[in-house]
């Protein structure tokens, strides 16, 4: 149990949850929301004395009053940013709410709003939604659960190998006088032997809080490529929790590009619950001014012959802060596990900070696990070498930063997204 004083701090966050009581909903859903609210009210937001929160302060977040709105949110299609890839289908959510009229998916994929899926009694959905795990250990998940209503259910049918990439755009609009809190809850469900490439983009305008919780279910031998763009508005707060549950022989290739928001935390909890699973979540971050970004990853190996990868690299400028916390948990039966983790940061200014917490918790005796973490400055010798060939200092620095980040991008198996990330890096460097 966490100390009691936090509880009072929890109440403003739950004020708008009361409005839900008037809305018709299935009994189990109401009970779920109540559980979320109750659990959150006992803890409030985590403080820096919490395990896993030592490096990220939420003081800035607590100083703003956010409001949840149950009202329909929408946006003019013309105001939305263009698709990331020409050849793709896109699903749009505005302030967490699914926009069917702006969305399309390829054959073999179905998508619907979360409440529509609940109404249609999509098989397995209720069971998935109520299995939220320990909410007290995860206050953002508890808060998301207290407001469960928005978001989507996306399903790829058994055996469908979807060639056309699908983008999911989360567009958030913050009003100057009333900063919205959005709590989308997603389920991405890949049935047996199916395959999908997802691009998840988070963007918006003004001040808002995006607190999302995404469950990903990869049934046996399914393959999901998941490429995230955390490009929230500079004044926004982004907290996302992704829980990936992988079946036998499934492959998850996850990558996140983080450059947005003033305060952000992306948490990934990958459960490799069967054998022969490949699971990777890697990423890059580009931070400046007073930005703060936190990647927290857990790779949980349950069964033998699993492989997990976490490779993170980033550049930190101004007074920005980067945090990486990565854990590889190998359970007793997970023999022949291959777990790899690395974290490298380039600090571009004297005030920039990077904090890393690599963790290995291993109970099996025949495993191969490794980790490495470094932070440092640009290589002066390399910089001089480039300048001595006529490349101006600014350009030489940009080239070195690109090369530092490229090492991580090279692992991506989907070339078009690699190019978009490279473009993003170039644009960031030329600002």
């Amino acid at each position: 149990m966490q100390p009691a004083p936090l509880a009072a701090a929890a109440l403003p966050w739950l004020a708008d949850a009361a409005g839900f009581e008037k809305q018709p909903a299935a009994g189990w859903l109401k009970a779920l929301r109540e559980t979320g609210a109750e659990q959150f009210s006992q803890t409030g937001l985590p403080t820096q004395s919490w395990e896993g929160w030592q490096h990220t302060s939420l003081r800035q977040l607590a100083s703003i009053k956010f409001h949840y709105s149950a009202e329909a949110a929408t946006s003019d299609a013309k105001k939305l940013p263009p698709k990331l890839l020409e050849d793709s289908d896109r699903i749009v959510l505005v302030n967490g709410q699914y926009q069917p009229h702006l969305s399309a998916v390829p054959a073999g994929v179905t998508v619907m709003g979360l409440m529509e899926a609940v109404d249609k009694k999509v098989a397995g959905l209720e069971e998935h939604l109520v299995s939220v795990g320990d909410l007290q250990a995860s206050p953002f998940k508890a808060l998301n659960t207290a407001f469960v209503r928005d978001g989507i259910v996306l399903k790829v049918e058994s055996g469908a190998e979807i060639a056309r990439p699908v983008e999911i755009l989360f567009y958030n609009i913050g009003a100057a006088d009333r900063a919205p809190a959005v709590y989308p809850r997603m389920l991405y469900w890949l049935e047996e032997n199916s395959a999908l490439t997802l691009l998840e983009r988070h963007a918006g305008e003004g001040v808002y809080l995006s607190n999302s919780y995404t469950g990903m279910v990869l049934e046996s031998a399914s393959r999901l490529k998941f490429y995230k763009f955390e490009e929230e508005s500079p004044a926004a707060f982004h907290f996302s929790l992704v829980s990936v549950r992988q079946g036998k022989g499934s492959v998850f290739e996850g990558f996140s590009y983080a450059s947005g928001g003033c305060l952000a935390r992306e948490e990934y909890q990958n459960q490799l619950i069967d054998s022969g699973i490949l699971s990777s979540i890697s990423g890059i971050y580009l931070l400046k001014n007073h930005q703060s970004h936190d990647f927290t990853v857990l790779m949980d190996h349950f069964e033998p012959n699993g492989k997990s990868v976490q490779h993170f690299r980033g550049v930190v400028d101004g007074q920005a802060r980067a945090v990486f916390q990565g854990k590889i948990h190998v359970r007793r039966s997970a023999q022949k596990t291959d777990g790899n983790q690395s974290s490298h940061a380039l600090l571009l200014s004297p005030q920039a900070e990077a904090s890393f917490k690599p963790e290995l918790e291993i109970y099996a005796d025949d495993v191969k696990c490794g980790h490495g973490a470094t932070s440092g400055h640009l290589d002066e010798a390399a910089l001089f070498y480039l300048q001595s060939r006529g490349i101006p200092a600014v350009e030489a620095k940009a080239l070195l930063i690109q090369s530092f980040l490229n090492t991580t991008l090279e692992q991506l198996s989907f070339a078009p997204v690699k190019e978009i990330y490279q473009e993003r890096i170039r644009a960031w460097l030329s600002q």
Binding site: D379, E380, A381, A382, F384, Y385, L386, Q387, S388, R389, G390, I391, P392, A393, E395, A396, L399, L400, Q402, S403, F404, L405, N406, T407
Partner: protein, 251 residues
């Protein structure tokens, strides 16, 4: 082309160059020979503009300009090229990308038109063939996984692409076997012209069998101790640097 006058340089509080005077005319090859620690590499880095070297006295004029007032990239654009003793590895930047960025940066500064991709590749292919280099190398990160010989050849390739006026070769022969040495020297010799000058910095006479100097200087204890013709190099090969230490300092 290059004029060094009374150059004094301090590195980390220690005076390494103690009054160098040197003049290199257009079209000439000057060799600077000296024992380890004589200040050879310091001189080459000072010419190219590396940070960390404090010039306490003296001046350097290059093509009529005050070299010491110029940034390293501007020196390159003006036509100075340093072939590094230890070329730096830059993982993640392909050699082609590096060459293209460098050549266009230099062309831009020289007021020339940037090369389009087709013209660039054509030039690169031509220079590669001249140096007997494998195009496969260019896809790899700059100098990453290159052998000693490949690194030096890559330096000569860059030199050939950038077409400098003054080439400073810092211990280009170090770490090379005789075949690699010949190829590198041929690459350098192919660039000799009445408008180009070379400053060949070396410990051993060996390289000078392949790149024939017009003038040889002996650098020891931070000063040019002796200047002569090619025969001076042969004399050093035979007798060593012992005679240039003076003051009883050990060789």
């Amino acid at each position: 082309m290059l004029k060094i006058e009374n150059l004094h340089v301090t590195v980390a509080g220690r005076e390494v160059l103690k009054g160098i005077d040197l003049s290199v005319e257009a079209g000439k090859v000057h060799a600077i020979m000296g024992p380890n620690g004589s200040g050879k590499s310091t001189l080459s880095y000072v010419l190219a503009g590396r940070e960390g070297y404090e010039i306490t006295k003296g001046r350097i004029t290059f093509m009529g300009q005050d070299l010491l007032a110029m940034k390293p990239e501007d020196r390159a654009a003006a036509g100075l090229f340093l072939a590094f003793q230890y070329p730096v590895e830059i993982p993640g930047v392909s050699t082609t990308m590096f060459l293209k960025t460098a050549i266009n940066a230099v062309r831009k500064k020289r007021g020339e038109k940037e090369l389009d991709p087709v013209a660039f590749l054509k030039l690169q292919k031509q220079k590669l063939a001249q140096l007997g280099m494998d195009a496969e190398m260019l896809k790899r990160g700059v100098n990453v996984g290159f052998s000693g010989g490949e690194k030096k050849r890559n330096e000569v390739l860059q030199m050939a692409m950038l077409e400098p006026k003054l080439m400073v070769l810092d211990e280009t022969d170090s770490g090379l076997d005789i075949d690699a040495l010949k190829t590198v020297a041929e690459g350098v010799n192919a660039m000799r012209s009445p408008e180009r000058s070379f400053l060949v910095i070396t410990h051993y006479q060996r390289l000078l069998n392949y790149i024939k100097p017009d003038v040889v200087h002996v650098l020891a204890q931070g000063k040019i101790q002796k200047t002569g013709g090619p025969e001076l190099a042969l004399l050093l090969e035979e007798k060593g640097y012992a005679g240039f230490y003076g003051d009883g300092e050990a060789a």
